[in-house]
Amino acid sequence: MNVASLSSPRADSKYEIAHLKLVPKRHVGRMVTAAVVLVLLATLVRAFSVGQIEWSYVRDFLFAPAILDGLVNTLLMTVAAMGLGIVLGVLIAIMRISGNPVLSSIAIAYVWIFRGAPALLQLMLWFNLALIFPTMGIPGLFEVRTVDVMTPFVAAVLGLGISQGAYTSEVVRSGLLSVDSGQYEAARTIGMTQMMMLRRIVLPQAMRVMVPPVGNEVIGMVKLTSLASVIQYSEILHNAQIIYFANTRVLELLLVASFWYLAVVSVLSIGQHYIERYFGRGSKSIRSSM
């Protein structure tokens, strides 16, 4: 093609692009949905502002000592129960894949039983253990009264942690299965023992797969701890209830509690992002192109 033909007026104008203007795509659907959402939101805000909510109560109780104490107890319970859940989960998952028929049967039975009953029920079982075992201990060595040991805190940690362990073990197991068998073999050929291989090579890689679902479970646990209010553990919901029994500001105090749950969950979500980044090291990142 020569230059003359390009610049000649008879050249096909279809290929002249300099004067063309790019018109952005009109996202009509998006604009409509946004409008609908805004209207709904405005209605909701209006409803709350004309509704019989005393916002001053929400503000005053947000940082009330009883609420903050409850928040601390909620966090303590989350850490303790989830900690127990993760330890049990890892243990049970390793037992399950150990190839030892006794251990793997125990693991299967554990998951079957503790996934089979509601967490609330398990919590109440532990709390009421004294009804069937008034004392516990090793005969002749030591003995304690069950009611002294089975405080609301202990009962809730056991109830929530043990049932969580059953769920978490399945997450851990899928993580272990996700690690290529070549990794197990490479670890063995450099002379690692079974435990060393799991700790140094397999679990760190399984973490990449395990962190998102475990993060999910931690967030679930934050809210599950509210069940402990049933057995008089002073977590945040329990304390909010005590306050509203006294001052009848039910909704205001429930909003206070919701605020704190949401705050904790937000912080945890951010934390999860960083943990994922740590365990993803060395792997190519998968980014959606959408």
Binding site: D180, G182, Q183, E185, A186, A187, R188, T189, I190, G191, M192, T193, Q194, M196, R200, I201, P204, Q205, F279, R281, G282, S283, K284
Partner: protein, 256 residues
């Protein structure tokens, strides 16, 4: 037992269910020797290597490495199976390089190499690191020490894997088709490292389809088929003037 024999396998047999993957395989490898195992797919080459370092349990026969019976302790006429810890101790002396590299993806090149020396052999980190860097230098990857496996090419990964095996100061390194997963242009960089290793006196058992490497580097070549050793002998003899018609056929097929 002969002083010079490092690996001695006698009548090694391995079954998978009713399928016999290894049928009375015997093999001698002298110290400092490079022994190549060739043969068609499914002939049991990998299985034999995996029996030597106890990744598979044998169903019959016995293997000695460095005059030590592999996997069992002999008491009179009884063979007692080793515990997990004892098996790990024996494996330390036997390196292995895999077709698919199997580097630890969450560790950098240098971390891959020091993992065994530090965790298993209890070497101080600083010392292990220095040795690892020297090994990386030797396989031509001094500048890649802090790269993760995902940031390395296949040939580079395999060279790190060889350095990882060397890091344990083994008596013996097993190679299971170390170049089969590589793009053709990357094969020679790995073979060069192996050549260098052979020249340094390392005892190597190499399962390979690279007959050129076998011809130039190996001392002995063993041809296997359907779980049996068909022919074994000096590399030059087996490759140039095979006694068995099957061996000749296989060599011809690989070359064309």
């Amino acid at each position: 037992m002969n002083q010079d024999i490092l690996v001695k396998a006698i009548d090694v047999t391995k079954n998978y269910g009713h399928f016999r993957a290894l049928d009375k395989v015997s093999l001698d490898v002298a110290r400092g020797e490079v022994s190549c195992i060739i043969g068609p797919s499914g002939s049991g080459k990998s299985t034999l290597l995996r029996c030597i370092n106890l990744l598979e349990r044998m169903d019959g026969g016995a293997i000695w490495v460095n005059d030590e019976l592999i996997g069992y302790r002999r008491e009179g006429n009884n063979l007692h199976e080793f515990s997990d810890a004892e098996i790990s101790r024996q494996r330390r002396r036997i390196g292995m390089v895999f077709q698919r590299f199997n580097l630890f993806p969450h560790k950098t090149a240098v971390e891959n190499i020091i993992e065994g020396p530090v965790q298993v052999l209890g070497e101080p980190v600083k010392e292990a690191r220095q040795r690892a860097l020297a090994l990386l230098e030797r396989v031509g990857l001094a500048d890649k020490a802090n790269h993760y496996p995902s940031e390395l090419s296949g040939g580079q990964q395999q060279r790190v894997a060889i350095a990882r095996a060397m890091g344990m100061r083994p008596d013996l390194i097993l190679f299971d088709e170390p170049t089969s997963a590589l793009d053709p242009e990357l094969v020679s960089e790995v073979l060069d490292v192996m050549k260098d290793l052979a020249a340094s006196g390392m005892t190597m058992i190499v399962v390979t389809h690279e007959l050129g490497f076998a011809r130039n580097v190996a001392n002995t070549v063993t041809f296997m088929e359907t779980g049996k050793v068909v022919e074994t002998g000096l590399a030059s003899e087996v490759l140039s003037a095979p006694r068995s018609a099957r061996t000749a056929e296989f060599i011809k097929a690989v070359h064309s």
